[in-house]
């Protein structure tokens, strides 16, 4: 039944004046070429020209990019920064581990000098953060939680019980009612899944 055309990288799809290059394509010498092996799709999205793209079965490998919201897990903390593993970019899981750093001055937007890392994160916390830089030669991805909706979303206390956020800087154990400090993010309803 397959009327859809399959292409391999390097196939010339159409001229640049016929379509807008989408994912899996590139523009060269006024023509659009495929850069992935997959099905050729043309989609009209209101504009004059259809968007041409090449789709594969798997999602294109996303890499953390500047400005992307990422979900990460804290692996270690020290007074100056927290080290994290990036697990998701947006809602796409990453296949491989990418390491990142949240520096002390990027934890929150106000009273930056009063931030204490131990009162913001603990190892094992799941944190929502934003990529601010891909880092230089020495450092990894630099992340920030200096926004209201960024910070710790899931945290466990020493007994391993998941705590409930009670304010933007505190979480409480439902059993013992012991409070611990965190840089809490209010969980957005669109991220919640039953």
């Amino acid at each position: 039944m397959s009327l859809l055309k399959l292409c391999v990288p390097g196939d010339r799809l159409c001229g640049a004046e016929d379509c807008i290059p989408g994912t899996g394509t590139y523009l060269r010498h006024g023509y659009i070429f495929a850069s992935l092996a997959g099905y050729v799709l043309r989609k009209n999205e209101g504009e004059e020209l259809p968007i041409i793209s090449v789709v594969k079965e798997t999602e294109a490998q996303l890499l953390p990019d500047v400005g992307a919201i990422v979900t990460c897990k804290v692996t270690s903390i020290n007074p100056r920064f927290a080290k994290v593993h990036v697990l998701y970019v947006g809602s796409t899981p990453l296949k491989d581990n990418f390491r990142g750093t949240i520096r002390k001055e990027d934890v929150r937007a106000t009273e930056k000098d009063k931030v204490e890392m131990y009162k913001s994160f603990r190892p094992g916390d799941i944190v929502l953060a934003k990529v601010i830089s891909l880092g230089d030669v020495q450092s990894n991805y630099l992340l920030t939680t200096a926004e209201n909706e960024l910070g710790v979303v899931v945290a466990h206390n020493e007994a391993g019980i998941q705590m409930i956020p009670i304010s933007w800087c505190e979480m409480q154990c439902p059993h013992t009612h012991v409070k611990e400090f965190r840089k809490v993010a209010p969980v957005q309803s669109e991220y919640l899944q039953a």
């Binding site: 397959s2 990288p9 030669v137």
Partner: protein, 283 residues
Amino acid sequence: MPVDTRRVRAPEESQCPLLFVPLLPRGPLRTVAQPEKARVDGRQRSQVDVRPVFARCGLVTQAKGSAYMEAGKTKVLCAVYGPRESERKDDTDMKAGRLVCDFRYAPFSCPKRGTWIQGSEERDAAQALQEALRPGLCLHRYPRAQVEVNVLVLEHDGSVLAHAVTCASMALVDAGVEMYDLVLGCALRQDGDSYLLDPTLAEESGGHATQPEDNQGGVTVALLPSLGQVSGLHADGELRDESVSAAVRACMEGCHRLYPVVRRALVYAARRKAAPPGDSLET
């Protein structure tokens, strides 16, 4: 190093037994010495006559993408991993991704049994492979990441680097790494006035010792077929300049012969992986 005195020690001087055995069967060398004759496997000299190729994608399940290729008796397996976090951070250009290539001969692949330890020949081949593949890859789409290409030669019967390039580009396409174009490789052995395209191991190594005549050498070309660009050129031996340019042209023609086979294998792999995307989409 303490010496074990109870052990019978080896003689002070010893030679490898392989020195006393002719390394390769002498038969094929004779045909190199007789330029008018056809080649051992029935192919024609000085014609773009490549060996039949079998190519298939997706054999290594653990890898992101993989490919297996046979050309005559040369068998090459390639696996691609990544893009994953770059291991080395000392690279100056962090905006683009890195391509890491590894090239190995299996111990049983050559007439003389080898080791798993990478030799200098393998390192040179890995370097040549990396240089041939890199122009075909959209590495700027993968900042701070690296793509790993591992080539394992299962059987060495000539033109290994050329087929490794083709196989690696198929594995990269299978892995979904964005590429400007496929990269196809073809090798050639110049023998006097005639040439042997896609030479076997005997044709590759023959002639050097028996015939000290000039214009002997090997050329390997990597080509981006749709863009018509040569991405890698590797030549050794002593060649006249007009035969070098003729050899490159013949190799490019050989790459174009390979293109439909590789393309069909990739289209087949893409179709097997995914059903055509569903409704509301036109062709």
